[in-house]
């Protein structure tokens, strides 16, 4: 694997050691979590999230998976296939990773609160007693709330045209709720450097100072919110696909049917063109942004002006909106129609 931005080319064996070492560096550099913390990895069946779960386990972290079934079909059973990939990967973990800091499996409490059904976790069969036994938790949005993401999006103003906004809102709420209720301090997502650079590019084009100030590898925990971390933030998307190929991690190759024409993909293509002409351009763009932020380029004034949080009257999760949070307002508007 040739990584032109690092002026580094590695064989398969060294590449699959180099990637986890880079992830470990990021975890430590940005103080994401420690080996004692319980980490919930949001898995989608795609390359980044499955690779992340594999890497965290290989590094000896206590990481479980969470899959949210969104009920997206797209003519080829997108959600069903994504879930199948996640479950197959979870089952394969028994023999698929090596390395462990310490022994011990910890039972995770069953969900409390709203009684939303979470399926029994998928747990790999293993004969090895002294290591973390990762679990895959699954929640089906259509089963839990009665409607798939595209169905909800069709019925509310927020979803007009494309369901991505509704999807993002529901995923953020449910991931946070489940992490919180099941006792996970940290929620890890598979965002890679290309994802982060594309978001940064979009927010810079329109100078979304609030978003720029919040963007980073770690969003600290606060009352009712799990800490959110992006351990792959210094790795290229290309490297994550290569890692899966070399490690034999099977992932869903098909894209979400609603992602075609997405602005984020257009931004990624532009950045890839810059990268082709100038290796390291994406990396420099993102990492110099993080350094500029650290040096005070964006001060905290906007955060001081941010409205205070309070508990949503319906679900209890923190929100800045008076009364109900955006997630509950969404379902109230669905119920009215």
């Amino acid at each position: 694997m040739n990584m032109r931005q690092h002026k580094l080319a590695l064989c398969a064996d060294h590449f699959t050691e180099w990637v986890p070492a880079q992830v470990e560096k990021s975890i430590r550099k940005y103080r994401m979590f420690t080996p004692e913390d319980l980490v919930l990895v949001a898995v989608s069946g795609g390359k980044d999230s499955l690779a992340l779960w594999d890497i965290l386990l290989r590094l000896g972290y206590r990481a479980d998976g969470l899959y949210l079934g969104l009920g997206i079909d797209g003519g080829f059973g997108y959600s069903d296939e994504s879930q199948r990939q996640c479950e197959a990967f979870a089952k394969s973990l028994a023999s698929g990773y090596q390395g462990m800091r310490e022994s011990g499996n910890q039972e995770v409490e069953a969900p409390v609160g709203q009684g939303v059904p979470i399926q029994d976790p998928v747990v790999p069969d293993t004969q090895i007693p002294d290591r973390w036994l990762p679990k895959l938790h699954t929640l089906s949005v259509p089963d839990a709330y009665g409607e798939s993401i595209p169905e909800v999006a069709r019925r509310v103003r927020r979803g007009r045209g494309k369901p991505c906004s509704v999807c993002g809102l529901i995923k953020r709420h449910e991931m946070n709720r489940i992490a919180h209720e099941m006792g996970y301090l940290v929620l890890a997502t598979g965002h890679n450097l290309d994802d982060e650079a594309a978001v940064l590019f979009g927010n810079t084009l329109t100078w979304q100072v609030g978003y720029l100030a919040r963007q980073g590898p770690v969003l600290p925990e606060s009352d009712g919110f799990a800490r959110k971390v992006k351990p792959l933030c210094r790795l290229y998307e290309r490297e994550m696909a290569a890692y899966c190929l070399v490690r034999g991690i099977d992932y869903i190759y098909e894209e979400c049917p609603y992602s075609f024409g997405a602005t984020s993909i257009a931004h990624k293509e532009l950045l890839a063109e810059m990268e082709r002409k100038s290796p390291g351009a994406k990396q420099n763009f993102y990492l110099s942004f993080l350094r500029a932020k650290q040096n005070g380029f964006l001060d905290d004034r906007h955060q001081e002006l941010a409205p205070s949080m309070h508990a949503c009257e319906r679900c209890g999760q923190p929100t800045t909106a008076p009364g109900l949070c955006a997630f509950c307002r969404l379902w109230v508007s669905v119920e009215k129609r």
Binding site: N2, D48, R238, A242, L245, S259, K268
Partner: protein, 63 residues
């Protein structure tokens, strides 16, 4: 001649061409794909043989 497959596209390239140049012949940016031969990842500097069948894997995903 070596054959290149990418999604629903396929094209032939001259023997002994590098993988990187074979990708460019398909109007693709080499930064956005990975090349595999017999299911294994190959590097862009490899010269293709006459009967090679290369499958390209997209690396850009949305979200």
């Amino acid at each position: 001649m070596p054959k290149i497959f990418y999604r629903d596209k396929e094209w032939e390239v001259p023997t002994n061409i590098t993988v990187r140049d074979a990708i460019k012949k398909g109007d693709l940016n080499p930064e956005t794909v990975l090349a595999t031969l017999d299911g294994k990842l190959i590097t862009e500097d490899i010269h293709l043989k006459a009967d090679d069948v290369v499958k390209l894997v997209a690396v850009i995903s949305g979200g």
